[in-house]
Symmetry: D2
Subunit: 161 residues, 4 copies
């Protein structure tokens, strides 16, 4: 059984026709898993729907509490890309006994060319195979929380060295 | 470095406007990896473009030879779903020293609701994390070659027991 | 008020995951009109769901009867492309007092690159503006029933001269 | 021959992965016409790429000049929805001898559920059938420049009465 914690980020952004803004209304994780024809057992929990630039320490504390509180020891977290490494580090330093994999999208699921499905697929295999710890799966790569950053010029994740 | 061997299957089927049939013209793997924003190093090789119902022992022998011949020890294979377990078993019994992950799609990449990206994401993490052997990543699950079948009534992969 | 008569054709074909065939299960016209944000008043009636290569004279008679029977004098008909000109001629020769516009798609609505929405848009304006008669809107053009054929080599509609 | 004048609007907005904003980079009209399998002869001219809330009188003057200057007497204009009625009125009051049809989209073409194709289809038939004047095709309806407004609460176009 895999727990999916939803926290927001580009992946779940939608187009608001009335004002032309990208907004959150609900998570698309259920739609994505249906398209993915996923038969792995999952339990989905929306913790928040936030742009990760607006995530505070209290938000990260809240995510940590949800990871600790859930009965599953395999946890996938959808998250905005801008501060994903910060949240991964926060979880990696304070958690034990669970495997946590964070993923997001550079292009919202509601766009034609979204990377959401691919990244979620990467996270699904990773959470089932990796030992305890906090990880990020983006761009087809698997990063440990203590060796990852987002290169904002390129819009890609990379190791520190 | 990951080798991707393309063998065909539903994933790469396209609509032929002139006769209304689903056909192969070329692989879409490059398009999929672009959409996925994959920065992992890959080397793509089209071995064949076949419906897996039409795959012969000679075809499987050919795939095995390509796996053995490539310099990479991590190999992802796109494959039709109908005989994917047979090819996985063929490879699993005869290979050593390489990690091979097969994936396909229940709905072609050219359709709105394809599972291709998700399954390829699952395969990418799996090939990087699993020990040598032959595996299948479908439906968000990871199967070993000796414990998998396609349930054709449900259109899903499952373990034998 | 516009009557929409559904008769099948490529536009409504779907992918059957269990056998890999393109099949009819239901019309997608309601989904298309929702995506189109259409606020024009319409009344949708499914007459049949057939590949137009399999349409018989009895089928065309049936379509003619539905056109005559409906209270609206503006009728849009979704139809397979292969014999669309034949049905248009059948209706054009026998109808009076109504404007009928036939359209279909070269690529099913369920594919990423479908022309269904565009062709339906062409039909919607045409049916509101044209005098009585039978017409086809395909490829961004408007054809009268007595001057149109499908060029099967090109997969396009053209005038006879 | 139909002239297509591109002025921007939601239809052409794209997602900028680096900052998460919706921006203009280029028009998608060529892509849309390819998907539409349009064989009608068109000549495409990008006049500007602007959000219609930022359109000035000078911009409208510029559009008017382009309409007057082009050799075609059938002109389709892509335009943001917010001030589309204003531009239609500006053109309707000052033009003669040409049929001009404005259209836009409530959801960008780069989104899964865009209405762009449908609206462009409506405009294509309308421009070929209507007498001289300025019109808007949105929501499956055809509006004359002197009897249309955008209902911003509903995100729909409607007549004044």
């Amino acid at each position: 059984m895999i727990r999916i914690l939803v926290t927001g980020g580009t992946l779940d952004k939608e187009y608001n026709q009335l004002d032309g803004e990208l907004v959150f209304t609900k998570t698309h994780i259920t739609d994505i898993l249906r398209q993915a024809k996923c038969t792995a057992q999952v339990s989905i929990e929306t913790v928040m729907l936030k742009d990760s630039l607006h995530m505070s320490d209290a938000d990260r504390e809240c995510i940590l509490e949800r990871v600790k509180a859930c009965p599953e020891d395999k946890v996938v977290i959808t998250h905005g890309t801008d501060t994903m490494p910060e949240t991964a580090a926060f979880l990696g330093q304070q958690l034990s006994g669970k495997t946590v994999v964070l993923l997001g999208a550079m292009v919202p699921y509601s766009f034609v060319n979204s990377d959401a499905l691919f990244n979620l697929g990467c996270a699904f295999s990773a959470v089932q195979l990796l030992p305890e710890g906090a990880y990020i799966t983006m761009n087809g790569k698997i990063f440990s929380w203590d060796n990852v950053r987002k290169n904002r010029q390129k819009g890609e994740f990379e190791t520190l060295d």
